[in-house]
Symmetry: C2
Subunit: 123 residues, 2 copies
């Protein structure tokens, strides 16, 4: 049987940013946590929507053809597939992500990305 | 473009219990919010895992062949497919659910269920 996941505890286990850690799986979807700081890279995921949920801090999701979305703790937003976006967290944030297993965080951007790995010390 | 979702605001829009409201979709998965109070019904979902996340209050997930899982705010648990479980919230709780669209909250229990509907006043 899987274990419950305490988000605060998970975030206490790592310090690196823009490096999602897998904390749970729902069928073939991964639930990931990440610390983010400053600006990421503009990218899109042509094959999947992507859910962002803010646990702590403030995350701004810049969107190519829409107004920025500003997420505070307890708020979530789904970036539709194919929509170019750039996450930014000037003051840092702790976020939860949901997307199909294997999804690279850099999407179609011309640089390496990570699809997530188990959080250190988990389980 | 979809809108951001503020969980607190969503929960302020309804009072009924054990009646999930769809607040977002990620591909063919629904993100739902529900208020829960007292005991639900024992059931299983043979075709899918089910994620529970507690926003407020305390949720106990009784499991047929394992210890109870007690979830406080900021904690989540995935009930694996096929595992009989019974959610209980003696003092009431506000929870978020994630599962494939069309999943009945009663699973295989011999009684009607809901697969979720949009929250009243949403959007």
């Amino acid at each position: 049987m899987s274990q419950k996941v305490n988000l605060g505890e998970q975030f206490s286990r790592f310090t690196d940013t823009w490096s999602p850690k897998i904390v749970a799986a729902v069928n073939d979807y991964d639930v990931k946590v990440a610390k983010v700081q400053d600006e990421f890279v503009w990218h899109a995921h042509d094959e999947t929507d992507e859910l962002f949920f803010v646990h702590k801090g403030r995350l701004v999701i810049r969107l190519e053809r829409s107004d920025d979305v500003v997420l505070e703790p307890g708020e979530l937003f789904v970036v539709p597939r194919g929509v170019r976006h750039c996450p930014v967290a000037d003051e840092g944030a702790e976020i939860l992500l949901l997307e199909p297993a294997g999804t690279l965080n850099t999407g179609d951007a011309d640089r390496p990305g990570t699809a997530g790995e188990p959080v250190a010390g988990s389980g």
